[in-house]
């Protein structure tokens, strides 16, 4: 996907993170998306989250499929390793990458067409494998790059630019993820950086597959009225159930259930996700409760956002497969080849 190089004029006053890097070091090439495209705001949030997390750029693998959304890895963290692959196939490619090197941090960028149509089966099975992957669906309800056809996330009755209503039931990645055992599920809105950044940081810390559905309006093909994925509609119908802060490992850890709707979840790396103002009947660690809460509100047409569900206790891809701690790509050949003696011995069984 096209990209124009941005003049790197680093302003001295820019803050530096733990690695001594400024936010500029986490930026990418200039976006070639339409002015106002929701995807660009998500890009900005990603840049911020990685910078705040002080992730070494070259330890980031950024992968994507094909689509306007899938172009965005070129627009953040130039120092990361990028792979803009094929339409719908990012999940298996990310799975292979993760299998080969468990030390890197992977972020997969996809679109609602890329993930919910051609790539649906792959995404579901990547979720089952629970590999460590921050999986972002930049969800605009249409196929942007091919000029605005409905995607599988379009709501019943939502109208196309030409005024035609969508008639098929949508696939909601959140409900889908809950039904097949996803271990980290969030929904956010590209317009809401305050909410998105902490979610991204928690996702990076998450021990497994982090599914993040971000409503990201397509200003060119799906931002008209009649569309349920427009900026206006989303702002009017968004329901933020609670806030979730991300508290890095260093800081002190708090009791699991705090007072007045505070819930703290300890992450594998010692960091903590602190939920504030969690409703009575809700528990972000209880799949059933989450499902019924969402069911209840979504029938009313509310778009529930936030870090909705979190389970740190499911083994990830490597634990399920009991692989060594060293990245498989780095295991020295001597450890891999049984050698001629073993071969001679073995062949006694072939007689």
């Amino acid at each position: 996907m096209p990209s124009i190089n941005k003049p790197i004029a680093t302003h001295p006053s820019l803050q530096r993170n733990a690695l001594g890097l400024t936010i500029r070091d986490y930026e990418g090439s200039m976006s070639t998306l339409c002015a106002g495209c929701g995807h660009d705001s998500i890009t900005a949030a990603i840049v911020r989250a990685f910078w705040e997390q002080s992730t070494p750029p070259h330890m980031i693998g950024k992968l994507s499929g094909i689509g306007c959304s899938s172009k965005t890895p070129a627009y953040f963290v130039n120092g990361a390793h990028g792979f803009n692959s094929a339409h719908g196939r990012m999940p298996p490619i990310a799975t292979g990458a993760n299998a080969a090197n468990r030390e890197m941090m992977y972020v997969g960028i996809s679109g609602d067409g890329d993930s919910l149509s051609i790539g649906l089966g792959h995404m579901c099975h990547a979720i089952r494998r629970n590999l460590r992957l921050v999986y972002i669906i930049e969800n605009n309800g249409v196929y942007g790059l091919t000029k605005g056809q409905f995607s599988a996330s379009a709501d019943v009755g939502s109208k196309s630019k030409k005024g035609e209503p969508n008639r098929m039931a949508p696939i909601d990645p959140v409900m889908l993820g809950l039904s097949i055992g996803a271990t980290f599920i969030a929904r956010s809105f590209s317009g809401d950086k305050e909410q998105l950044v902490p979610i991204l940081k928690a996702a990076v810390a998450h021990h497994g597959f982090a599914l993040i559905d971000v409503i990201s309006p397509c200003v060119t093909f799906n931002d008209h009225n009649g569309s349920t994925k427009s900026y206006l509609y989303t702002r009017q119908h968004e329901l933020k159930i609670f806030e979730a802060d991300f508290v890095p490992p260093s800081s002190e850890v708090l009791a699991h259930i705090g007072q007045n709707g505070a819930v703290n979840v300890q992450m594998h790396d010692g960091s903590v996700v602190r939920f504030k103002g969690v409703p009575e009947n809700y528990d972000p660690t209880d799949r059933q409760k989450v499902v019924s809460y969402l069911d209840e509100h979504q029938v009313k047409g509310e778009v529930v956002t936030g870090l909705l569900f979190l389970d740190e206790n499911v083994p990830d891809l490597h634990e399920m497969n009991q692989t060594v701690d060293t990245p498989l790509a780095r295991v020295p050949y001597q450890k891999l080849c049984p050698g001629s003696a073993a071969l001679d011995a073995l062949q006694e069984d072939f007689r």
């Binding site: 990209s3 196939r89 292979g96 891999l336 080849c337």
Partner: protein, 617 residues
Amino acid sequence: MRDRVNDFAIKLGNVNGTGSASANGLLMQAIFRMGIPVSGKNLFPSNIQGLPTWYEIRVNKSGYTARSLDYDLMVAMNSQTYARDIREVREGGYLLYDSSWPLDPDLIRGDVNFLGVPLAQMCNESFRDPRERILMKNIAYAGSLIAVLNADMDIVAALLDEKYAAKKALRESNHRALRLGYDYAQKHFACPLPFHLEMMDANSDKILIDGNTAIALGCVYAGATVAAWYPITPSTSAMDAFKAFCEKYRKDPETGKNNYIIIQAEDELAAIGMVIGASWNGARAFTSTAGPGISLMNELLGLAYYAEIPAVVIDVQRVGPSTGMPTRTQQGDILECAYASHGDTKHILLFPSNPAECFEFAPKAFDLAERFQTPVFLLTDLDIGMNDWVVPRLKWDDSYKPDRGRVLTGEEVEKLTKFQRYNPPDENHVAARTLPGENPKGAFFTRGSGHNKFGGYTEIPDEYREVMDRLALKHKSSAKFVPEPIIQIRKGATFGVITLGGCDLAVREALDVLAERGIAADFMRIRGFPFDEPVQKFLDQHDYCFVIEQNRDAQLRSLLVIETTVPKEKLKSILVYGGFPLSAKHVIDGVLKAMGKGEAPELTPVAAGGPQGPMDE
């Protein structure tokens, strides 16, 4: 008919899922241990239980162990196929059947000797459990065969002891059943038959192994750490073997953790995707599949080709098109693999001919994939992959170091002013790559969309073409690195015979027979694509050649015509594609048929001639 020692063929007709496989394997292994050249071909249905299945054993002291089509002895254990099976016995041959029930008189052939053994009856008398009665019938006929063929009872007994070392009860019933059949035969028939076995010493440096096991072992030795696959006959046992070997050799001694990962993907598109992701990230990764899987991998194979990512794909070919005959053998994916994917793409292919080469070519495939940063196909087939072959002991050179190709270390990258993914290319038109996570300066952006030699996105014709032209040259360069053809020159030869893969034994046997009949031909077995000079030279040196392959459309011939300078009029096809392994007879008939038409065979190119006449059993 005078005695024939260590030179005959037998065929066994069974019902699948009744345990006949182990009895037949036992027999074949016993003959192997007797030091006699032997082959066993399992002709089984695409079904788990209840359908006809056959097993063929050919014994030949001179080592001609390709499939034989005339059967001296038929063991007819499947009443569904009696008629067909009895028809196939050669004149004067023998037929062993279960005489517990009378044989339909209409089936009797005057020119065949019928050996009835009351197998069911005997087993019912001496075994209680119904399942056991069925299983033991197989061991019982094995016993009878040992008697009539003069196999070594001690060797067989030893095999049973090894096999059931842990299972005393089973061991004993097996011995008992074996005896039942053996004694009955000794008592009622003139043992041995005129064709029979006698100890030899041809196998001391040989092993008995199937291609899927060998190729899996090769992947272990190649240092493959990531395997992604989707189950499909006939490739499944390759991944099963890889798993078994990894459990044996790839557990970290200290931690007990795995130095490998095997991912059962959701489909073949995912399997190749995982291989690409893992290779991109620096691991040696592979997948194993069959024709339908290759079709599904088409899109991503083009991505790997264009983005220059190594990938090793094992295609254990079965009969196509579509689902076709999943348990039958063919060489029908040659063109599909050579040019897999849309747009201009060309891939590297390796054609092992037996399990030994499967083992040898596996590491070669990874070396080529990484040296040329592109997909490499290991094309075997069901016959090579799933049948046990007698091959020389596998050797391993401990000095082998994986050829990772041009991969820059962190330090090397550090030294560069700027790393450019596809620039500069070396003499083989390959540029250096970096591995993610190694060094900040090594970061690059991989894309399947138009890119220039720096790896940057482009839509500029010259930049696009520059990369595509280099890829074409890169592919040509790899010719020097694929295994060279096996060539056998015969004096007085007036023409050449070209083949590949599992056709090897049958073709070489046929050429020997033809030579005896005064028709001398040179032999070339192609082992890799793109074609290197020796192939071109062989083509240049002969006025005409027969191309023998197991598919309808003369795919190897097409590839030779497109990818060498040979005038296509020189190449005449002999095509056998019914799904059973090739036999020398197919080749001899094919050659004679063509020669018959006059001095020099009349050469009808395939496009004009269409498919050849019946050449299969």
